[in-house]
Amino acid sequence: MEIIEILFTASFWAAAIRIASPLIFATLGELICERAGVLNLGIEGIMVAGAFAGWMAVYSGTGLWVGVCVAMIVGMGFGLLHSILTVPFGLSQHVVGLGVTLLATSSTYYAYRLALPEVTSPPKIQAFQPYEIPILSDIPLLGPALFSQTPLTYLAFILVAVVAVVLYRTPLGLAVRAAGENPAAVAAQGLSVTAIRMGAVMFGSGLMAVGGAFLTMSAFDSFFFEMVNGRGWICIALVVFGSWRPGKALLGAVLFAAFDALQIRVQQTSLGTQIPYQIFLMMPYILSILALVVMSRRAEVPAALMVPFNKGER
């Protein structure tokens, strides 16, 4: 079978890992927000803003890593806005999140037009190049797939481990998880729920923006409207799929990306001539929905997700 053959090519897995990278950043970001008890539906817009901010910074002459930092800072700015409205003010997290997405998306397009009023096609930048890790990249199949990626991809994988360690092994991670489970318990131990939740939302939003920046600075080398294209919403689902655990969320991101990479390749096989290509486009989404249905039955939702906490209220 041609599909089986595809599954054993290094280029297929390399593509899957590449497609997964932005999802990993943004999923981790969303996971941190939700672990602290805040649903951040601003993710889609924050990814757009991050994609633009990082790319624009590099286009204006900064280094690539500075561009990543700029994207992170812009993301944290939107995170600050989101968290002020949802944490101390306790507004509806759905409404605020969708509002942030709309604001971030449209202000990005506005900034794009302000910065580049007369271009017809967006300029290109010198994006991150693949870096082949010595020795490891020589492993057959695995080497080219995993160890010939851009530095941002490596960063994404490292971050999964870092976030997992911080969440489960440090006092800070414990405080974040407790804020999402029972904020009253956090307050009773003399910690500020507001500070913990706002910090988590800001940091998480920063990661979402880096996920967006991956698109313009690593996957491609330019900024297009609609390039985020619903990836933020996929990440919301991936958090559920991963049962709010970083490792499982990574697995989910790679799985989704693999389906995506697979469908592109299947379109080019003999099967692709017989079946309308839209069917293949649908495939990763349908499979994600199925996976979500199966996995989310056992998912452990943070008990205080979307529950605002106001100290001193009875």
Binding site: R169, T170, P171, L172, L174, A175, R177, A178, E181, N182, A184, A185, V186, A187, A188, Q189, G190, L191, I196, E300, P302, A303, K311, G312, R314
Partner: protein
């Protein structure tokens, strides 16, 4: 003896208002090292509010808090903890999905430190739990623990931080008598080590057992303070309520016709609790029927059937001797069955609705409160105001969200809602659970008044004393089966206890066969 006692804590002229409600009015309190002071008062007297101010969860409008001579900044739990004040809340502040150790160590180490020193924390928790007989596994998920175990975790949380003053807000409300004894033993060990305790309760015998001194709050004000050695239960009850506590006198009743009747009703099980097993019961006018039994023996199923939430799988429901086919909550309400639900927070009220909305919840469709599909807010508001006035619901006004009320006042509103509809049948499921003596007597006298007016009252209670004091007829429910009717005074508590353990039923089966 010791020379001058060290003053561990002093609260000076604390005042706190919630909207128009003054929860604490210039309350002062002091506590010496190694002393146990009981804070006594009716529901809504302001005990919990005062302690939340001490612990920095509420900010007082005025007044100061001093711990070992140092003034602690208001509204700052961290400062209170650092000063050595710990609190075990009535509703535990534990995260169910975290382990015991995680709950205890939360926030103890700086959030910026990279290590959590789990082994050290674990050793310390084990040592503390051995020393104070607080057996609990550090690795257990809190969600999997019993209520008694959770309370031990809460106490460990405080001890782990080396608190010098421990506030216990109604710690025994959720405990069995055996667990209460264990708790007191633990507390005595800690007191011997110099811990000072503020003990909030309205169980007078516990206060007498553990406290050195009692401070009584009434309507948010200080009503007095005495040494335990100089007082007794009657005097404390009088101080707490402002008047001598007198249980209502029960006159003999003359039962009338059956208003609601269950015939051979069987219902499905409710979770782990059994449903009804071929139960027949007649609720007669002018009678209080008491349903005694150990919790989880079919009381919930009985309440659901009488309230219309469940229609029988087998058997019949009869209203005034006519069989009902479509038995729904609305049918029940419309045929004059009023419900005092078991859990006033979950099923009795809607927390964020105000008193007016909660007052008309069951009958908003009736002509009293709406015309042609439009709510009549004027009449509704007047109805709520009337209840507040007549039933002495202490609140800032009818437009207050009901969650701001204390349990007793919430129950009074429910009682008013029930009785003002002039119901034929009253289903009173645990009507006085969690209420103080004053509120208990009030609810009981209102139920008796309804009986004398000709209503049938089904009183479901796990408190045998309550059932025996009020009921004209007692049935025992055990494993979904109903005992024969016993008249008032026919059975001793011990005899009823045998039925509650399920013993009489076999004989009945034997007789039948």
């Amino acid at each position: 003896m010791c020379s001058t006692p060290v003053e561990a804590l002093s609260l000076d002229a604390i005042t706190k208002r919630f909207g128009e409600l003054t929860a604490n009015d210039a309350v002062s309190l002091s506590l010496n090292q190694g002393e146990v002071v009981a804070l006594l008062g009716e529901n809504g007297a302001g005990k919990t509010t005062l302690m939340n101010i001490l612990f920095g969860q509420y900010t007082a409008d005025s007044g100061t808090v001093r711990v070992f001579g140092e003034t602690i900044p208001p509204g700052n739990s961290r400062a209170a903890l650092d000063a050595g004040v710990g609190m075990v809340h009535q509703h535990f502040t534990l995260a169910d999905n975290l382990t015991v150790q995680e709950n205890i160590t939360l926030g103890v180490r700086s959030l910026l430190s990279l290590r959590s020193d789990r082994a050290g924390a674990r050793a310390r928790i084990t040592a503390l739990s051995e020393k104070y007989h607080l057996a609990v596994s550090p690795d257990a998920r809190v969600g999997a623990l019993s209520v008694g175990e959770r309370q031990r975790v809460e106490i460990l949380k405080a001890l782990y931080r080396d608190v010098r003053i421990l506030i216990l807000d109604e710690p025994t409300a959720v405990l069995t008598p055996q667990e209460t004894d264990d708790l007191f033993a633990t507390l005595r060990l800690a007191i011997a080590d110099g811990l000072s305790i503020i003990f909030i309760s309205h169980k007078l015998h516990e206060v007498m057992a553990i406290a050195d001194r009692v401070v009584v709050l009434r309507h948010g004000k200080m009503a007095g303070g005495v040494r335990i050695a100089d007082t007794d239960k009657q005097a404390l009850a009088a101080m707490m309520m402002g008047t001598e506590a007198t249980p209502p006198k029960v006159a003999k009743s003359t039962p009338g016709a059956a208003l609601l009747e269950l015939r051979n009703v069987t219902t499905p099980d409710v979770g782990n609790a059994p449903g009804l097993r071929s139960v027949s019961l007649a609720l007669r006018a002018g009678q209080i029927i008491g349903l005694a039994g150990v919790s989880g023996n079919g009381q919930a199923a009985m309440a659901d059937v009488v309230g219309g939430l469940v229609s029988p799988a087998q058997g019949q429901v009869l209203l005034a001797d006519a069989e009902v086919n479509n038995w729904t909550p609305r049918a029940a309400v419309q045929s004059g069955i009023a419900r005092i639900p078991e859990d006033r927070h979950k099923t009795g009220t809607i927390a964020d609705f105000d008193l007016t909305e909660n007052a008309i919840l069951e009958r908003y469709k009736s002509a009293d409160f709406s015309t042609r599909g439009w709510l009549n807010w004027g009449k509704s508001r007047a109805f709520a105001d009337a209840i507040i006035d007549k039933y002495d619901v202490r609140c800032p006004g009818a437009d207050t969200p009901i969650r701001l009320l204390s349990g007793g006042n919430m129950q009074k509103l429910i009682l008013g809602r029930v009785l003002e509809a002039n119901p034929q049948v009253i289903l009173a499921n645990q009507p006085v659970r969690g209420l103080d003596i004053g509120a208990v007597n009030y609810v009981h006298s209102q139920l008796l008044a309804a009986r004398d007016r000709g209503a049938a009252v089904l009183l479901i209670s796990e408190d045998l004393d309550e059932v025996m004091a009020l009921s004209d007829v007692i049935h025992v429910i055990a494993d979904g089966r109903l005992s024969p009717a016993f008249d008032r005074g026919q059975m001793t508590p011990a005899q009823l206890g045998l039925w509650m353990a399920g013993q009489g039923f076999e004989d009945e089966v034997a007789h039948a066969s």
